[in-house]
Point group: C2
Chain length 411, copies 2
């Protein structure tokens, strides 16, 4: 008998038919002899409707009251899912986040989990019941409901899996798993059987929107192995687990982020600390800077190029403009939107030549690289956004990601 934590997102429980389908899936797991804890989100649309209601009353609704309001979405789903299980003859009981012993700090709307005691979940499981837990929510030290912010239901599931020492944690969503590249761009993209936490984090931060980073970080910290899979079919998904247990693959996948814009600062005085001050003023303006290149130009001036999320481009430009006024030199301009294309793989730590292979493939296709940044397990290039999809395909081919790892000729 295994203890399995399953999580179903908003689209998986969006209407009564989908809730019935989820109940059937839970039944299959339960009747196979497993103990089952299920974390559910609010029905899709419910949370947005509640936010709209609140904002119609106040432009910046109080955060404690938003938690009081938004937590009803999950509360509705746990009750309905439990009732759907009863109609299949499966004993089940619902628990709010607080009742499931998910204790958080007091930062309403973005609370952090401080302790997971599991409430009476083990007791309920041992008595033969399926337990349906409200995702996205916990309780603070006063017992008041808090919510965990975006992606909070994934976090609830992984936290409960850790607390209950679950044998398996399944994140059911509307995608099949994690792919070597976006299948809409690369038709030969393959679903990955496994990825490491680190790779998953890089893929998430590179625009592969399967899960929020914080849930993956939490899983990494507590070494909770989980599977991302679809609630619409029975295909195996992608297992996310520790690097040490992975097969030896250099490049795991190719990711693409089309939401970056290049900002150029020209004629910055080439003196110590000038660049640092630029980034300080961007940090003060809460702009996340990503890729950075600095060139020393003629006449003792420097040119600085960096990328920011496109939504932040003009905020970045304004902040830098103010700073340049103060120091009395330099010009800043928002340049083109770019695409950031990246290869990710923990195997890069011990393999050289990955960057050269990637750059060669792009060069042979006539795609110009504007910026480069690297980490231990990732190489990213900024390119003209019009070549983004082609670049992903070229790189996917160059590393033979369409083939099983054992059949690849290099890397």
């Amino acid at each position: 008998m295994a203890l399995i934590v399953q999580k179903y997102g908003g689209t998986s429980v969006k209407d009564l038919d989908r809730i019935k389908a989820v109940a059937e899936r839970i039944r299959t797991t339960y009747e196979a002899g497993n103990q089952v804890v299920v974390v559910v989100s609010a029905r899709s649309g419910v949370t947005n409707r509640l936010i709209a209601d609140a904002q119609a009353l106040h432009p910046h609704p109080d955060e404690r009251e938003m938690d009081m309001l938004l937590s009803v979405g999950e509360q509705e789903t746990i009750a309905l899912t439990t009732i759907a299980l009863h109609s299949l003859g499966i004993p089940a009981v619902s628990r709010t986040g607080g009742q499931a012993g998910i204790f958080t700090d007091g930062f309403h709307t973005k609370a952090r989990i401080v302790d997971i005691r599991g409430g009476d979940l083990q007791e309920q499981l041992d008595s033969g019941k399926v337990v349906i837990v409200a995702g996205f929510q916990g309780a603070n030290s006063l017992g008041h409901t808090t919510t965990l912010g975006r992606g909070g239901s994934d976090l609830s599931a992984i936290a409960l899996a850790a607390a209950l020492k679950a044998d398996l944690c399944q994140i059911y969503t509307d995608v099949d798993g994690v792919y070597t590249a976006d299948p809409r761009i690369v038709s030969s993209a393959r679903k990955l059987q496994v990825v490491s936490y680190e790779e998953m984090l890089e893929l998430a931060s590179l625009g592969s929107k399967v899960m929020q980073s914080r849930s993956v970080e939490f899983a990494n910290k507590y070494q909770v192995q989980f599977e991302v899979r679809s609630s619409y079919n029975n295909n195996p998904g992608t297992i996310v687990k520790a690097e040490s247990t992975l097969e030896d693959v250099v490049v795991r996948g190719v990711a693409c982020d089309k939401n970056q814009t290049k900002v150029v600062v020209n004629d910055l005085p080439d003196q110590p600390g000038a660049a640092a001050k630029v980034f300080k003023c961007l940090a003060d303006a809460q702009v996340n800077v990503d890729m950075i290149v600095q060139n020393i130009g003629r006449d003792g001036v420097a040119n600085l190029t960096f990328t920011v999320p496109s939504d932040d481009a003009y905020r970045a430009e304004n902040a830098v403009t103010e700073f340049l006024k103060e120091i009395g030199s330099g010009r800043v301009s928002v340049a083109d939107r770019i695409a950031k294309v990246s290869v990710v793989g923990v195997g890069m730590r011990s393999h050289s030549g990955v960057a050269a292979h990637m750059f060669t493939a792009l060069a042979e296709s006539g795609i110009n690289i504007q910026l480069i940044s690297t980490s231990e397990i990732k190489i990213s290039v900024a390119i003209n956004i019009e070549h983004a999809d082609e670049a992903v395909r070229v790189i996917h081919d160059a590393f033979e990601l369409n083939k099983d790892a054992s059949e690849r000729s290099s890397f």
Copy 2:
């Protein structure tokens, strides 16, 4: 500075505009220097939608899960009402029933209040905040949410008024107060300034649907004076309070219940206990019997006539049919639907002649009385349902209820 508890029902908070109107009303009370606790119901329609969802999944949804589900309606309203107050610059905070210290037994969907500690409400009030409390709900000894059944939000308000020793408890609803008769039937009906708990109970049980009996009983038990008034205007409502503090009026009002059906049992053996057994079998079938008349017929048989709520008539007939089969004699038949018209007033305790005056008025209008029942503060007659409205008008005129008590010529 007074402490005022206000309760707003589902129609009073049915949409965002109505919630804003409620917030304005609360502001007026708050800015007049009062401490204000507000109990709100679910937005009208929300509870019914949730019940429909649950019943689409299961014909008899589990009661604990129904409480988990239905309590979201009020939780939504308290958050939105609190946010609406914030937008008016009024400090406010929301509390669930459990957080407001409303403790109940464990009978989900129809829990009884066992203790009211008020949570931290007094502390919040003393810090200058309006407190918005979810009606209809409490928490059991495990801290799990329970609901109080029909009319539960009125009960929450009156219970909190008792616990906090409130100076005033206002029940805002979609009617103006309690009238001497239904104003849709009697155009000269007057709004009552005051009624006693006992009169209110009789009026409630006689089809004047302003409030559920249990809330009035609770108010009577804890001597909580309250006012029933409209959330759509600023008219004073009706004060409900202890009899001892009322002005001396014999007849307070006329009520009419059109939802009764007459059942006749003929040829029952005229022997001790026969009638008792009939009512025992009706009680076993959970039929509430109201007015009863027994006649001894010829040949040692008795005829029994009684009224039951119309929805229960055929259940009553079936139960009695079974019983008569067992004893081998008697016939039962469901007769006409009747109207039960009643005069109510605590002053009847010390005045005679009320019944005679009532019967005379009906006789002069040619309205035949089929059954009579009386209590200390009430006289009821069953009449042909077609004469119901006329009977109410005739009686209202006969007791001059259109006039101020001091101007009446008799009673």
